[in-house]
Symmetry: C2
Subunit: 280 residues, 2 copies
């Protein structure tokens, strides 16, 4: 039997260090995650392929749980695809998992929600090991105030105040399902399992802003973080987020866009985990 | 009163990302931590100074708790010295703490012991965020066997089997006070405070080898780790470490030297913490 191979849809879970990448999306210049995956998968398939990502992360933004989908014809099983991809991709981009998915699966359109994390190191001295994945905020922050502001984002709102002025101009209404700030004492973490040399370093603390939502506007998470830090630093009053959401004001009303290296696409959630056949 | 300033001895706690550095010690070529600190401190003192480090870490090796001492004449207080240094040093080198110390304090000769940590990511896929601080070991490891081998290092031994052949040839007898392997499931860590995007990534686990000792030979920790991994992988039998210590054999009897980026000088211990005046 030498008939043509049937087309399959694969679902990939992908992690990357965004440093030095132009982001998820293919660009005229520079290295993109999409471009790297399309090249590597195209070689496996012997034909050009299009890879769709759940989140179009910007230049310098990381991912620990990006999800991508691709439809192609290859004979090898999903876990062999993973090994073949990792053998050719640069170490900064890793395919964590490949599974067969229904033909209708589309990483972006099938997604129910996405979870982003934004990390800050808050203290006079930033541990060198934290710099690639954190924003260093050296001044004092009122974390309780930031937690209160973060909570105000939960629900369906018009996020015009947090929309990049350069982006497309469709509806700015999005639903945020979870929005919280966690504060971790790096000294206490040092005694527990050490993930990185970061943990032993004082006198900084780690702040992690976690936001899960049905969709995000361009730069929305980083604009939210910039505003949270403004409130934490006392440059804006408590209630700023609620006011900006109610006003659906223009982008320049909110805080500055926080730098990209603190942002990480942590997970993408889908309706039915059972819909993905376990072909590992 | 315009007399000359009295000389003071300062104690510095220093963290650095060793990537791209030639190590602690000043070299004819390349950027060293000692060289950077001497330059920055010399500018403050208006005179050439010599900085002594507790551990002479090799090229590519990191530190989260290196300790250095310097004797110099400056009028500013210790915490201002810290701020001034961090304002001129590259972000990869951070001074965490500066305190006034007794004139007799010497970072290396006063040290009672040093603690090194060696990190490995064990699993088929290495999370990109872990690469700068971990050795990626893709094959299966018997961690229980490695734990047993590590425990055999505690005590006073002749470490000739673990001594770099290029190093000086004094006594190879050293005392190891603590030697253990910790294994952490990255999946379970993902639910707890996230230090880095590393945590969410499967199917790898984090192995941390921690060793505290009164002194270390050149490349000793990395040679130990290479041997531990050999036993974990089944390439050498259990009991290898005890046999090598008893034989005090030549370096080529032990395992290969593990790569530098997994190693981190985590702490230096001194006799009397009270001896350091708290001048922060």
């Amino acid at each position: 039997v030498t008939g043509t191979l049937p087309a399959r849809t694969l679902r990939l879970r992908v992690a990357y260090d965004g440093t030095g990448l132009v982001g998820w999306q293919r660009q005229a210049e520079g290295t993109s995650v999409q471009g790297l995956l399309e090249e590597a998968l195209g070689r496996l398939a012997g034909a050009a392929v299009t890879v769709h990502g759940a989140g179009r992360t910007d230049a310098g933004v990381h991912a620990s749980g990006q999800v991508a989908s691709v439809t192609l014809s290859v004979r090898i099983d999903a876990s062999t695809v993973r090994r073949a991809l990792n053998a050719t991709l640069p170490p900064a981009v890793r395919v964590l998992e490949v599974t067969d998915a229904p033909r209708s699966f589309h990483a972006r359109y099938s997604a129910r929600s996405k979870t982003y994390e934004y990390r800050m190191v808050n203290g006079p001295v930033a541990p060198p090991a934290a710099l690639p994945t954190c924003w260093h905020v050296p001044y004092a922050l009122d974390v309780a105030a930031m937690m209160g502001e973060a909570a105000a984002l939960v629900g369906e709102h018009d996020f015009s105040s947090f929309r990049s002025t350069g982006g497309a101009m469709g509806s700015a209404v999005r639903r945020v399902l979870e929005s919280s700030v966690g504060s971790y004492d790096l000294r206490s973490l040092a005694a527990s399992p050490q993930l990185a040399p970061v943990a032993r370093i004082e006198p900084a603390r780690l702040l992690v802003y976690t936001v899960r939502g049905t969709g995000f506007l361009r730069h929305m998470v980083r604009a939210i973080v910039g505003t949270l830090v403004d409130v934490g630093a006392g440059r804006r009053p408590r209630g700023t987020i609620a006011r900006l959401l109610a006003a659906a004001a223009s982008r320049d009303e909110a805080g500055a866009t926080a730098p990209p290296q603190g942002l990480c696409l942590a997970a993408v959630e889908y309706d039915d985990p059972g819909e993905v056949a376990a072909h590992r």
